[in-house]
Every structure is written in C-alpha cells, then in structure tokens.
Amino acid sequence: MLMKKKFTLLLTLLLIAFVGWAQERNVSGVVISSDDGLPIPGVTVIIKGTLNGTTTDLNGNYMLSKVPVNSVIVFSYIGKEMKEVNYTGQPKIDVTMISETTQLDEVVVIGYGEVKKKDVTGAVSLVDSKTISNLKPIKVEEALQGTVAGVNVTQQSGSPGAGLDIRIRGISTNRDPSPVVIIDGYQGDLNTINPDDIKSITVLKDAQAAIYGTVGANGIILVTTKKGSRNTAPKIKINSSFGTQETTRKLSVLNATEYAVLLNESYAANGQALPYPDISGLGKGTNWQDELFSTAPIYNNDINVSGGSDKINYALSASDLRQEGIIGGDKSGFKRSTARLALGADLNKWLKFNTTFTYSHIDRKSFNDFGLGSVLFNAVNMPATVPVYGTDGDYFLAPANVGIEIINPLQQISNTFNDYKLNKLNGNFGLDANFANHFTATARIGYNTAYTNYKSFSKIVDYGGKVFDVTRSSVFQSRDNFNDYTFDAFVTYDNTFADLHHVTATVGTTVYKTYGNNLNATGFDIPNNSWEFADISLANGISTSKATGSYVYDQRRLSYFSRLQYDYNGKYLASVMLRRDASTKFGPDNSVAWFPSATLGWVISNEKFMKDIKKIDLLKFRLSYGILGSDKIGDYQYISQLSGEATYVFNNQLINGRAVGALPNPFIKWEQSEQFDAGFDMEFLDGRLNFTADYFNKKTNDLLIGGIPVSGIFGIAAPGASGPTVNAGTVCNSGFEFAVGYKGMINKDFSYNVNYNLTALKNEVLKVNNRTGFVEGGSFGVGQPLPARMQVGFPIGYFYGYQTDGIFQTQAEVDAHPSQAALGAEAQPGDIRFKDVNKDGVINSDDRTNIGNPIPDFTMGLNFSLQYKNFDFLAYTFVSLGNEIVRNYERAQPNVNRLSTSLDRWTGPGTSNKVPRLTTAATTNNIFSDYYVEDGSYLRLQRVQLGYRLPETTLRRIGIEEVRLYVAISNLFTLTKYTGFDPAASSGEPIGSGFDSGFYPAARTYTLGFSINL
C-alpha cells in the first residue's frame, strides 16, 4: 500500500520534474549568415516578451537557459532580417539569417510613393550612393554615364563648371530633350548639388514616369538625398581629395617648317610668289597648344554628420570644390560650396515631419571656348611661324593675312574678364500623416530660389585690325533672380485583403510655379581700362543706344493625378495611372492635357511550376504603355506680342518703335509621347547574378517646330519676328537595353563586382509638317548653307551634305565626271570628287544627302570593382559606337595653319585619294561633305581607382571607424579614331550638335584622396 503511494508520488514528482524540465530547457545553436555561410557574432537571441536573452559569440554560438516551451525565440541583428522561431522543445536551434535588404526588397522611389524593387513594373534603374562615391563626379550627371542602360550623358565642354546634357532613351524632341529632375519630391536641378549629399538616384525610363504627366516625356530623374537614419549614433564622415588635371588630347598640327613648305606649295599652285622662299631657319616654331594647355589643380572637400534617435533622423553636410581650368589659368575656374541640413522627425505616432535646407554658392570664370573665334579655334588655326610674344615683350599680334577673326589666343585669354556668381537656397518641408488605418496623407512644398550676379568687361584692345578689336571699353552687368516652388498634396491608401490582394491607391494634386526676373545694363568708358575698375558705378560714358534690359517670367502648372496599384500575392502586378495637367504654356484652345498609362508585371518565379527551379531567384516580365508629355516650350506663343525689334534713326539718333514679334499660334499644345516597354528582370545565385533586358519604343508626336517657315509675306524675317511655333513633328526612338551584373566572391577576403550595360538605339523622324518637310540647323564653315536637318526618314539632326568619291587623279578623270562648277569652282586634278547622288548628270545642291548623324547606335558601360582584404580597386569604362562628328575647326582660309593630315595631300597622280591638293585658288574642297565627317566612336576609361583601408583594429582604439586612402585617375585614356579634341563633347542641341568647332577637351585628372569615418 505504501509502496504504491510512494511510487505514485515518485511518478508524480518525476512527472512534475519532467514537465518542469520540459517547460524550461536550455537551448543552444549557431547562427550563420545566408550570404556567405559564416557565423555571425553579436546576434541578439532573446525570448520574446522577456528580458531573458544572450548574444552569439565569435563563433556564432549561443546558449539560452530556462526557455519555456511554446515560447518564441527572437534572433535579431543589424542588417539582417529578424527571425522568430517557435520553441517546442528542440534542444538545438541553428539559424540562418538573411540580409535585411536583399536587392529584391530594396525600396525604390517611383514618384509620389515607393515600391519594393521586386514589385516594380516599369523600366526603372537605380544608382546608389556607393556608385556615386566610387565615381566621385564633380557634377552629379557624370555619375549617370555608363551606369544606367538607356542613359547617355554628354558634356558641353571640358571647361570647369560646364553643363552636361542627359538624354534618356534617345532624343525625343527637337527642343529641349533633357529629363526633369525631381529632388526629394520637388522639381529642381542637378547643377548645384554636392554629389556626396545624394543617397540614391532613380531613373524612370518608360511609362512609369507617366504620373508626372506633361513633365515626364523625356524620362524622370528622381533624386533622394541623405537624411540620416534612426537609432544610429552620430556618424561623421570627412572626404578630401586633391587632383591634377591635364588635357586628354592635343591635336597634331603642322610645325613652322611644315607650314611654310605647304604654304609655298599652295601659293605655287595658284601661280603666286612663294611667301617663304627660305625655310631653313624656321625650325619648329610656336606650338600654340603647348602654350595654352597646362596642368590645373582641383580640390574637393566635404564633411557630413548623420544619425538619429528613435524619433528623429538628421544629416548635416558641407562641401567645398575648387577646380581650375587646363586652359586659361586664373581666367577659367569653378568653385562650388554647399551647406545642407536634413531633418526628419516623428511628431507623434501618426504624424511625421521632414525638411531639408541647402545653401549653394557657385563662382565661375570662363572664356570663349567654343566656335569660330574661340581660344582653341585660334590655337589650332594660328600658324606655327607666329611667335607668342614680340621682341618688345608684348603679345605678338596675329598677322592680317590669316583673316579678321583669328587672334593670338594667349592675348585673347589675357583680355578676357568675367565673373559669374550664383547663390541658391533650396529645400522642402513636408508632413506625412497616417491619419487613419491604411491611409497616409502627405503635404509638402519644395522650393528653389537663386540669385545670380554676372559681370563681363570688354577692354579696349587692338588685335591688329580684327573683328574682336574694341575701341571703347564697356562693362556688362546682369542680375537674375530665379524662383520656383512645387506643392504636392496627396493621399495614399495601402492595404492587403485576404493576405493575397495588395492594393495601393494614390490620389493627389501638384502645383508648380516658376517665376523670376532679370535686370542688366552696360556701362561705357571704364577708368584706366582695367578690370579692377570695371563696374557701372565707375563707368561714366554715355551711349547713344539703349544700354539696359530686363525681363520677367511667370509660368505655372496645375496637375491632378491618381494611381492604382494592385498585386496578387506578389505574383501578378498591375498599375494604372491618370494625370491631368493645365499649364500656362498651352494655348487657350488646348489648355488641358490628360495622360493615361498602365504597367503590368508577372513574377514568373513565384509561380508554383517555378518553385522547383531553385537556381532562379527571380524572373519577372514587365509591360508598360502610356502617354506622357513635355511642356518645355516657349512662353506665350499663343499671343501675338509686339516683341519685335523696330529701331530706326531720326536726327541721327536711334529711335525705338514697336512691331509684331513671332507669329502666334492659339492651338499650341504640349508635345505628346507614346511609350511602350517590354522587359524582364532575372536574378540567380541568391541575388549574385542579375540580368535586365528591355525593348522600348517611344514615339513623340506634336513636336513643336518653331519659326515654322511660312511665306515671307507674313513679315517673319523682320527683326524680332519669326514664323509661328506649331506642333508639327514626330520622332521615334526605339531600341534595346540590356544590363547584367555579377557579385562574385572568391573567398572571404576577395570579392568582386562586374556590371555591364548596353543600349542599342534607333532614332527616326516620322513627320515634319511645315511645308518644306524639314527643319534646318547647325552651322558649318562661314557662309555655308545650314548643314543639319530634322527630316522624315532620318535620325534627328542628321548631317546633310555632299558625298565624296576619292580625289581626281588626272584631268581625264575630271573630264569624265559631271561638272562641279555649280558648287563654286571647276574641279582640277587633286580636288575632291563629289558623287552625283541623284544621277542627273550635274553636281549641284540637289546632290546633298545623308552623310552621318551624331546619335550613337550603341552605348555601353562596363564597370568592374573588386575588394581584396583592405584594398579596393575599380575601373569604369564607357563606350559609344556609331556617333559621328563633323570636323569644323579648320578655318577655310589660305594662310591658316593646318592639321598634320594635310602632309598627306595630293601632289600628283596616285599620291593620295583622301586629302585634296593645296592651293590658294578657289576650290570646292571646303564645302560641307563627308570629307569632314568622322567616326566619333570611342571607348573611355572613365575612372580607375585603387583604395586602401587602414587596419580597423588600430583605428578602433582611437575611436575612428574607418580611414580609407585612394588614388584615382579619371579619363585615363580614350580610344577613338576621331582626330579632334574630344569625341564625347556635344553642344546638346537636337539639330546642330555633332559639329566640333573646337571643343574644350575633357581633362584627365590624377587624384589623391582620403576619407575618414568617425
């Protein structure tokens, strides 16, 4: 009896003990990372809802004791997704933690909202701050070259502070094809931003941009700036670098002896006396380019502090950039200073506030660096026999026989005086209110306000009877004030129904206003003819004509938009957008524009039948179609204003009247673009290999063609008048984009990244409805017909000139060919033979045809980076194929200098079939033909960089987190067949770009720098 009782008690005790033991046990295990399979030390392992926890050791091991059954164990670590495990009694729990933001989960800004990258249904590319800091661009636009498929960036000039032009998926209009830039939600520009303040750039390339309606047709660039992050101790980062710039190229021109020999030959060919009977003492002469180019420094420093508590995040930064020019010494330079504050705060549980505030200051000096009469043009055309200085130590005046425009370029620079200063404030204020479950209301206002101050001094100078001679000194001063603001107010609803149907709806309004004014004046007779005294306050001279001017402008846009996004379990995605725009730019008969669009996505990799294919992490198809617009058109073109010039002379005094300006067009409206895109995204190998391809087709209708040629009887050739601007053209850009990236790891010390992108683009004009069927533009030579065209069936801005067919070797060949006299002179042996393109037996202006175009057929970026232990290395390359450039920096004048290629000129039958004979007599060799069109394809190694991180352990002791030293070379080499200064330069005009009148070349920069993270 007692035995039984004891046994029961024992059993009960045991049971209790057992259950008790079962209730609270020890658990242990190891935590590893999914990225590399290595253990993660420092992971917090905690029992949910309690304070009972521990952390993993250096080997990733942990042990938890007294863990109740059915409790939840939480594993958390910064940068990794939190993992929760139900404890049901298992003694060992090993955990693999995945990185928190895999590429798929990255959040992408898409305009009035964000989506996860895996849910994106449009053609959207991302450039993150790491890429930007790898490239260390001086201007932000440079970071988009070669890093984003479909984007082409060209520089207008290598001079410090010169502008850059961005083209997304081709040139969509003959006016301004640049995309609109939205910074933190408000319209702004990239010009003044410190690249280091940028967190990410998103490029919307297709109908995804349609939510921006009449602003989206050329693509949208969304910039998000750094704002610090929550729950982070203040991080201080200091970047500093010093670089030396030199020119990437110098042209090969004749030296003094070669010049004299060839000049003698050209005079002899025309029966004139030899200008240099004795060439023995001439030697090499002056190398004008060597005299002009020098090395120039560039300093770049910035500091930023960011961090946050759990309710506030902040970022503060300041930067200072100073760049001198490789030509011009202190007459050319660019300085930019910025200071910025960004703040985000949770005012309470449902109301968030954010603001940024940036002050920028720019100071720029420049000289005439492009075109006939520019410094480089003069240097290339000035004979080497002319010295820089005369025997008296003053600048040697360019001789009269080289024409009235060519002057001593060093003298030109020393007589150039100008200064440009810009002060700008921009920023935004915004409120996000989560005022009800699933609803967020956002109201924000972003603004830009800038003041510029420009002065240029025209000194009395005698260049020797040249067109640039100044007989009366004057100073021109101009002040501008530019302002704009963007106000957004929208409501977002986001909810998931039945765990499968995820819906996001956005409805809102945007108001945009841009306004400003300018005041300018010219003063005459500067005391002492000197820059120190050049100011209107001291210029007492009186002018007999109007010496002042001003303008004001005020343009507005009112928009309403809505977007509905739906996805079924992350597998089937769709979105539709509609936007209504009203703009002051549109004529009264077309004042409202509607822009609808739709995008679709199918994440095939989420389908059941794909689940077994483990190798593919993501396979998504995307389709998008939409109507977008562009309102980058002139103001008030629907009103006939008396803006013409009407000045005559009575009593020997100028008198101003009033006359009609441009003919109006009351039907004027926005340019409308239909964009279609089909693409797919793939990811393999745990996200290490990714792959994107797109086919796009953009047709832009209603292109505004201004000064539409209409009959002269309407007075459109009067001063200040022009033909009307009419929506009359259509251009189509279509092609493929392809991007592939691979993150490789050889071992834990050695990892690398390779990214390649390719864009194939075809541009074709489909309609030009202006009676003549084409619009002309550009300029070649002096007094020659316009050489570029926008015409149906050809790329926009194609070159229109004569085709050549070798050189006439003998008189017999000349006689066998139709006469070329209509072009200006009879041909002789040694002259260029032009093709009779229309086979009518005569060579005349009807034989002009398509001889090339400046738009590249392919652009590619190949970017490589690797990390080995504490070293990092990167190389970014950009390739452009198929773009053509016209050599337009040779002055067609008998006595100017020539390129070295003229040494290969024809001197007798069989001596050359490429370069024509030299003579001072009249020939047709200077007219615009494919002899002047060159292949501008190039490969440029944009940046090569080697960096070293100092060992962490030593630094940690003094409280520094990271110190990195690096050396880098920008534009190390450029492979190209082009003989001019820079195949990458372009004036950026849709009709007329590609004519190289002496582009200031890009600089090669050797940089040494460091960054310190505290």
Binding site: W350, L351, A400, N401, G403, I404, L431, G465, V467, V470, F487, A489, V511, S543, T544, S545, V552, D554, R556, A582, T584, P588, S591, D635, Y636, I639, Q641, L642, E645, A646, Y648, V649, F650, N652, L654, I655, G657, R658, V710, S711, G712, I713, F714, G715, I716, A717, A718, P719, A721, P724, T772, V782, Q784, G824, A825, S845, A922, T924, N926, I927
Partner: protein, 495 residues
C-alpha cells in the same frame, strides 16, 4: 485616445485648408504676360501710331542687300569677297547663274515683304483713332509701302498684293501674283497720296518728304515708260526749287554731307548700336559698307572690310578725263597705298579698285561692334542729280523736249567737271545714249545701274552671262513657290 482623434482632426482640417489654399482651379494657369503688349489691342494713342511708323521705317535699313547685290549684278563690279564661295548667293548673281535656291535673293524677298507687312499693320488700324498729324503719318506709311513694293516688283516682277490689311495665313495659297501693271498702279496711288499730304521738310531728319514722294513717283513712271507723267511730276519737284546740286561731289558721301541739299531721300544708319551676323537685317548700321571695304586695310581715312563689290577697269574707263566724280567714286588702292603708305591684303577677284562712295571710313570711339556691320554711312537713295537725269530721260525718250533734257543733263555735267566745256548738245537717240552714259557714271556704286539696263533692254548686251527673257527678273524663292501650293508660278526659265 480622445486627444489622439482630436489631434488628427485638427491636422486633417489643417491639411484640407492647405489643400484649398494651394490647390487652385484652372484660373491659376490662365494668366497674361506681364509687361507685354498684345498686337491686336494696340493703337490706343498717337504715340502708338508713331511707334508703328518707326517700325515701318526700320525695314529700309535692310535694303543694303538690294543696293550691293544690285551693283554686283551689273557689269560695273565683280562680286569679290574672301574666296569664290564667300557669300555664294552673291557670287552666283554676279555670274548670272543664280537659281531659286539663292538665299540672298530670299532675304530680299523676305525683308521687303516684312516692310510691306509692317506698313499694312499701321494701315489696318488707321481708322481706330483720330488725332492731329495722322494724315501726314499715313502719307509716310504709304510712301514706305510704295518703296517696298517698288523694290519687290523691280526684283521679282509680279507679286502678291494686299492693301491696308496684313497678310494672313492662307493668303499665300489664295492671293495670286498680281501683274506688274497692277502692282505699279497701287504704288502710284500710294505715292500720289503721299505727295499730296507730306510736308516739304520734316522736323525729324530721315522722314519722308513731299519731294521724296514725287521723286519716287517720277522714277516709278519712268520704269513703266510713262514718260509724260514722269516728266510732269519730276519737273514739279525741280520747279519747287527745294534741292540743289552740291558743288563738291566728294562731300556728298562723307559723314558731314549726310542729308545735304542734294538729298531727296536718304536711308539713315548709325553705328551707335551693336550688330552681329546672326541678324543682318537687325543692324542699325549699313552692312553693305563693311562688305565693300578694303580687305585687311590699315591707313588713313578708311577702315577695313570684306572686299566685295569691286569695280572693274571697264567701269573706271567710263569716266571722261577731267571728271571729278572718278576720284570720288573709285578708290585706286595701289596709288592710294603708294601715296599714303596704307597697307592692305587682297581678296577674291581683286581688281585694285573699290567702291569709294560707300567705303567704311574711320570710326569714332563710340562705334559699336561688329565694326564691319555697323558703319554709319547713310544710303543716298534718291539724289537730286538722279532726279535731273530722270527728268532728262523722260523728256528725251518721251519726245517731249530734248532742249529740257539737255538742260537737266548739263546741270549734272557742269557739276561733275566744274566747267561749262563738257555740255552735251546731242539730240534724239544720241542724247538718249548720252543720258544713259551719264546715269552710269553719276550713279556708279549706288545699286541703280542694273535696273537701268534691264528697263532699257540693254542688259543682255553688256552683262556677261545675262540671258534675255530670263534674268530681267530674279527667281521667286523656291520655298515661296512651295508654300503657295501651286498658287504662284516661278518666273520664266528659272527652275
């Protein structure tokens, strides 16, 4: 909890208010430009009319192209320039190989029609307001309209006409090219009206006068070979006695001689405003002058230019010995350089001679750039000597009075030679030839000779390359033919 809802309501309310303040209606985007004047609501004061009148005068300055190209077209000069392809349009006219794609001829068409359009803008609103002096202004506007239409009919023949209203889009396909006789009829009407209301002198120099209207009318009659009417109106002008021949021929063309006693109508220019190649018709200076200058010149009196419109030996040989006009009309650069030490370079077709009447002179400090485009030399459009010679021609060819013809002719010759020993006593056809010859030497370099040759049927004989039945007119710009969509046909024998 309550506080939370209250907070949210306040914020939601604030938000809505913000929304209303900023989210305006479409009137936000319906604005008119600030500081701008709309062309259809103008002419509200006499000053507005004056401004539109000035605008009508403005296009006269663009006739520099008519003057220099007219001279190049004749056998007086060669085109010149820097090279044989410099301003190819002018080179082709010089050789009489110009076609309908000639951009310089297109400029003349465009600029003269711009002048017509500006005068018609004034005329369209002439009845809107009444004020003193309006009639005289209308007289000036109609004079200008006649001037522009006369240039157009001289160069292109039949032209579309629209009186008192601006041309509107659509007119190019509906308004036909009026026959030459009709164009002249309208020109005559305008000038008769102008001559009736314009004063003999104007307070502001440069504005049209009664004499200007009469002289132009006489010229227009002469071109139509309406000799009686021409003689009639020109003699009225002569009898009114308001003009005299200046005895020192040289002084006519110097700066000090501007708007002198011999000037019946003079197109005004100044160098006080800058100009550029981008808009030659905008220049307030005389562009033709810079283009005619001596290439690379340094030396006294003159300043350099582009060496166009260079006189040929044959033209120089037209001057008889003792003719003071020769040294004024022609600059012999070789002798000049020898005697003054001036230096120069040579351009295309260098003949050693330059059009001295309209050569760039040394400029004041105030002259604005581009100095080649802003020369202040006024164009003496109608000189009293031209009036006398036209009167002589009308009297002679109209068989009205050879005696009067001789009288007028000899006035000009006496001034030219400074004596009475070079009087002409010929009659009939011989007198006609003498008058033609005198016109050539008196008016050499002023862009008139080519049209004299054409209207008297002599062009084909003396101008190399001139094709009769074709080159009497210049081709209508090809673009205009296209714009008219079949409404306008090209002039004969041009394609």
């Amino acid at each position: 909890m309550k506080k939370n809802i209250l907070n949210k309501t306040i914020v939601a309310g604030l938000f809505t208010v913000l929304l209303f303040i900023f989210s305006c209606n479409d009137n936000f985007v319906k604005i008119s430009p600030e500081y701008s004047i709309d062309s259809e609501n103008y002419f509200n004061s006499p000053d507005d009319y004056y401004m539109a009148l000035v605008a009508s005068y403005d296009m006269l300055q663009a006739t520099y192209a008519n003057v220099i190209l007219g001279e190049i077209a004749s056998e007086n000069t060669l085109c010149g320039g820097e090279s044989p392809t410099d301003v190819i349009g002018w080179q082709q006219v010089d050789q009489m190989i110009h076609t309908s794609t000639n951009s310089n001829l297109k400029d003349i068409w465009n600029w003269m029609f711009a002048g017509v359009q500006r005068t018609n803008y004034f005329m369209e609103f002439k009845d809107k307001l009444e004020f003193d002096g309006k009639e005289q202004m209308i007289g000036e506007v109609r004079f200008l309209r006649a001037y522009y239409n006369f240039e157009l009919v001289k160069w292109f023949g039949p032209i579309p006409l629209k009186m008192d209203k601006r041309f509107n889009l659509g007119d190019e396909t509906s308004i036909p090219r009026s026959p030459v006789a009709d164009v002249y009829a309208e020109i005559e009407k305008d000038l008769i009206y102008a001559a009736g209301v314009l004063p003999v002198t104007q307070a502001e120099t440069g504005r049209a006068t009664k004499g200007a209207a009469q002289a132009l009318l006489g010229k227009v009659y002469l071109y139509q070979e309406k000799f009686a009417e021409s003689a009639n109106v020109l003699e009225q002008l002569i009898m009114d006695g308001n003009y005299t021949l200046v005895s020192d021929y040289n002084s006519i063309f110097e700066n000090e001689g501007e708007n002198g006693p011999e000037s019946v109508f003079e197109i005004q220019y100044t160098d006080a405003e800058g100009a550029g190649f981008g808009c030659l018709q905008c220049s307030e200076g005389n562009v033709a002058v810079g283009f005619s200058g001596v290439r690379g010149y340094t030396g006294p009196l003159f300043s350099p230019g582009f060496s166009f419109d260079v006189p040929v030996q044959d033209a120089i040989d037209q001057f008889e010995p003792g003719d003071h006009r020769k040294a004024v009309t022609i600059l012999d650069i070789v002798s000049w350089a020898d005697s003054t030490g001036a230096t120069y370079t040579t351009g295309n077709e260098h003949t050693g001679y330059f059009n001295r009447k309209y050569l760039p002179r040394k400029r004041s400090e105030n002259a604005q750039n581009d100095l080649n485009l802003t020369n202040p030399n006024n164009y003496r459009a109608i000189r009293y000597s031209d009036v006398l010679l036209m009167a002589a021609e009308a009297n002679n060819r109209g068989n009205i009075s050879d005696a009067k013809a001789q009288e007028y002719l000899n006035l000009v010759r006496r001034r030219a030679f400074g004596d009475l020993n070079h009087d002409v006593t010929l009659t009939g056809d011989a007198l006609t030839d003498a008058i033609y010859h005198e016109r050539r030497v008196e008016l050499m370099g002023e862009g008139i000779h080519f049209f004299d040759l054409v209207r008297t049927g002599q062009a084909a004989n003396v101008i190399p390359g001139f094709t009769a039945g074709k080159n009497e007119l210049f081709p209508i710009p090809k673009e205009e033919i296209d714009f008219s969509a079949g409404n306008w046909k090209q002039n004969p024998n041009y394609n």
